[in-house]
């Protein structure tokens, strides 16, 4: 039970204002009349809006400003005269948990949400929107959690041995563009099931996919091996030829020997090997023309897999 609470709390701390805010909120213009504003509230069933001039939030006007205006029976006037000028705003990248504290401290019912820097209005946040947004996000997280229940993320803890490693291999068929990329997308799912951290999966999947595409495009086929140990994942891609003429050149971004038909498919821009290197913690590339190529990629997962 406690672990579950920790999960919920962790989840809450990850949410940003932009994750739950309502986008494209209704707005009022400062020169709009109070009567028009009243109609906006009634028709849209809302109780307040930001006042926007030239894309910037210059005020907030709510039902709390409208009621005294109506009861006093005074003459119609522009929204500018009744609004709260220069209101406090929230930022899209602000943590939701901080925003909630701000609601608590100020007692305000709603905040405009603006982009940091440009100050452009991006959305609106009320307590109701927070609750609705959080429930939606939680429902989604819960679904993911259920999937996690039956996945293999505890395998390294459940099994004891001096040395633990999961070994998975795929045959890569050369020049077959129908299948190209399937090993890497399948592997991405496998890694998820094994509870590897999402950012590490992302790097692994990209390195693996680039390597797989290289094998499909330039060779007659090969084998991809994944060795998954508790603290690192190693990817080894071997092919039987034709090998790389100049290893230093393929390490340079933009160098490519790809044929036109490869480029038409969106590959062969000379980004493959540099991109793999960028994703890897360590990379080795061995090749001799006529003999084939072996690529080894190490990514350290540390101790911070999701299962722990």
């Amino acid at each position: 039970m406690e672990a579950k609470h920790a999960k919920t709390r962790e989840f809450l701390f990850e949410l940003k204002v932009s994750d739950v805010m309502k986008t494209d909120p209704f707005t009022a213009h400062p020169e709009q009349s109070m009567t028009e504003f009243r109609r906006l509230l009634r028709d849209r069933r809302i109780s307040g809006t930001p006042v926007v001039e030239d894309g910037k939030v210059i005020g907030m006007i709510t039902i709390a400003d409208l009621i005294p205006f109506l009861t006093s029976g005074e003459q119609d006037c522009p929204v500018r005269e009744k609004m709260t000028a220069d209101p406090e705003c929230l930022f899209t990248d602000q943590l939701l948990i901080h925003a909630i504290r701000q609601f608590d401290e100020s007692g305000f019912g709603r905040y405009p949400v603006v982009e940091r820097g440009s100050g452009e209005l991006r959305g609106i946040l009320t307590k109701g929107i927070i609750i609705e947004g959080m429930l939606k996000k939680m429902e989604r997280a819960l679904k993911e959690e259920e999937i996690r229940q039956y996945r293999a993320s505890h395998i390294f803890e459940d099994i004891s041995a001096e040395y633990k490693e999961i070994y998975l291999t795929y045959d890569i068929v050369g020049k077959d563009f129908e299948l190209a990329g399937r090993a890497s997308t399948q592997m991405k799912r496998n890694l998820k099931r094994l509870g590897i951290r999402p950012d590490i999966i992302h790097r692994l999947a990209i390195a693996s996919y680039e390597a797989e595409m290289n094998t499909v495009i330039y060779t007659n086929g090969g084998i991809m091996e994944y060795r998954i140990a508790p603290e690192e994942v190693t990817l080894i891609v071997r092919d039987t030829g034709p090998g790389i003429e100049d290893i230093e050149k393929v390490m340079k971004p933009g160098y490519s020997t790809a044929a036109d038909w490869v480029r038409e498919l969106g590959f062969g821009a000379g980004m493959g090997i540099p991109n793999i290197k960028k994703c890897a913690d360590r990379m080795e590339l061995e090749s001799s023309p006529g003999q084939g190529t072996t690529l080894k990629v190490w990514i350290y997962t540390g101790n911070e897999n999701e299962a722990q």
Binding site: T23, G181, Y209, M271, N275
Partner: protein, 118 residues
């Protein structure tokens, strides 16, 4: 703006996609036909606009975690590609607009580049 609203903005026809995905908010987009470029530089935008309709385009998105793809210029999309997108839980839609026009319309509606440095 939700993904559904964004797609309506470019009069796109939705080929596959769950309601849950279509009703979630989108803020960032990127455009490109170079798969390596998408993998190396674009990060994970909410929507990818592209002129490519190969199965590698779907797999590239699956690998980089991109959850929706808008094909421009009304390029024909093979049923097998739609099937692959469905398997990978990727929303796939197609618009008659050009890459430039579709990007522009989404930009006007407040969507921004998902690429850092833009």
């Amino acid at each position: 703006m939700t993904l559904r609203e964004a797609l309506a903005e470019v009069s796109a026809q939705i080929l596959c996609g769950e309601d849950e995905e279509l009703d979630s908010p989108v803020q960032t987009a990127a455009a490109g036909d170079l798969m390596s470029d998408i993998l190396a530089r674009l990060g994970t935008p909410d929507v990818l606009l592209t002129g490519l309709t190969t199965n590698q385009m779907i797999r590239t998105c699956a690998v980089s975690g991109i959850r929706s793809v808008l094909v421009v210029r009304d390029k024909p999309v093979d049923e097998s590609i739609v099937e692959l997108a469905r398997e990978e839980d990727i929303v796939l839609a197609v618009t008659k607009l050009s890459l430039f026009a579709a990007s522009g319309r989404l930009y006007v509606r407040g969507m921004r580049s998902g690429t850092s440095g833009d």
